[in-house]
Symmetry: C2
Subunit: 246 residues, 2 copies
């Protein structure tokens, strides 16, 4: 890994492979960003990651208004791992859905699954937009991993297909108890966190969730949290108890 070299100020996600001797042609958006918006040029340093090969320090070797080439110089951070945690959430208003996706990327979720519940006011979910938000969050938070955003699916279908080895943390407003439901759980298993819509789960959904052998209801306190707040709070408790925070 690179030692004392100055860290690149700009950090971008690319699709291409990264490695010693590798050159990376830039698409039009990235070229515009680096050379017009950021006013960078040949010789300037850019950090790149692709979600697989770690973070590489690269140098601009060609710069045009609409194209350019970066050359890999050395690994600046090893490929990071995130715990096997999915965040499943019922889509809400656009700005808050964007926020949930951004936060899931920052908090280290491996996969993000929009789910349609009985009380979901499902505006159309644009998976490509949400995926772009994940990339942006990863660029910002210094992570080398970009979570995958799945196509929206109905809660019933998701549960019918569930791998029972994956534990499910389900936030239940009717409970008291904080994260105590997570203590005594064996670490190292795959997990998912399920956040309901603003209107909560229906009686039927709640009953079904509670009956699942892999479900762990957890309380997030006596106040009603918005879905976006609940998502961050639940991921924090999970990372702290079972993930890579401790």
């Amino acid at each position: 890994m690179l030692g004392l070299m100055e860290r690149a100020k700009v950090r971008l996600y690319v699709d291409q492979p990264l490695g010693q001797g590798q050159t990376v042609p830039l698409d039009r958006d990235h070229a515009n960003y680096l050379f017009n918006v950021m006013r960078m040029g040949v010789g300037d340093a850019v950090a790149l990651f692709n979600g697989r090969d770690g973070e590489w320090r690269t140098e601009v070797v060609q710069a045009n208004k609409r194209a350019g080439v970066l050359a890999c110089q050395g690994l600046s951070a090893p490929q990071g791992e995130v715990p096997d945690l999915w965040l499943i959430f019922a889509p809400i208003k656009k700005a808050r859905t964007d926020f949930i996706v951004e936060k899931a990327a920052e908090m280290g979720a491996r996969r993000i699954l929009p789910v349609l519940t009985e009380f979901t006011n499902s505006e159309r979910v644009r998976v490509d937009r949400l995926q772009a938000h994940c990339v942006e969050a990863a660029e910002q938070c210094g992570g080398t991993y970009v979570p995958e955003v799945a196509e929206p699916v109905k809660l019933d279908a998701l549960l019918a297909d569930w791998d029972p080895a994956r534990q499910l943390m389900f936030c239940d407003e009717s409970l008291a108890g904080g994260s105590s439901a997570l203590s005594g759980v064996v670490a190292g298993q795959p997990w998912a966190i399920l956040i309901g819509p603003e209107g909560g789960f229906s009686e039927g959904e709640r009953k079904r969730l509670r009956a699942l052998p892999f479900a762990h209801p957890v309380s997030l306190g006596p106040r009603i949290l918005r879905a976006d707040t609940a998502a961050v709070a639940a991921m924090a408790l999970w990372q702290d108890c079972l993930g890579d925070w401790s």
Copy 2:
């Protein structure tokens, strides 16, 4: 308390005292909201709270376009307590500062203190706007308590004046360890959580914070969190370990 009566669909914060037999004159904004926006009228139910007297079910007894009167019918929720937790944060961009304040109200902070650190790009902080955000968050989250937003103060001045009985959770990116720094801490003490600016604390600030006998550095994992994410995550860990979630 009221039993089986239907819960009011609209919930508002007012300044006036609430209690049995009390009538509450509406200001122009509230009258406009109830009678024009929500199209309510005489006989409709509204839930009111003022941060002191619990939540009251009231009924519209006079409705004009620009004024109106509500009459208290009965207590619908007792006055809630929040733990003695302050959230201290360095103001960031407007939208994210608004967000931090909203989340602090939802997560049950008692007081919110904007603080100016060495690396704070201090845009002007409008305390009245932030206070209005707190009120809105409390209206939404069903809480009866509205945290107070303090005037911004420099970190040095805040620490010089600090009551050493108040413990300080300070989020330190250079640490590992999750919430383990909080285990073994006696519950029931006053606390504060300090969230640094996007650029982090300066070396001097970090040194000073670490030397404080009441400071408890806590890690929020291996990824860099934005200040708004860190605020929610830190409050979640605190509420879960030492607050009213468990």
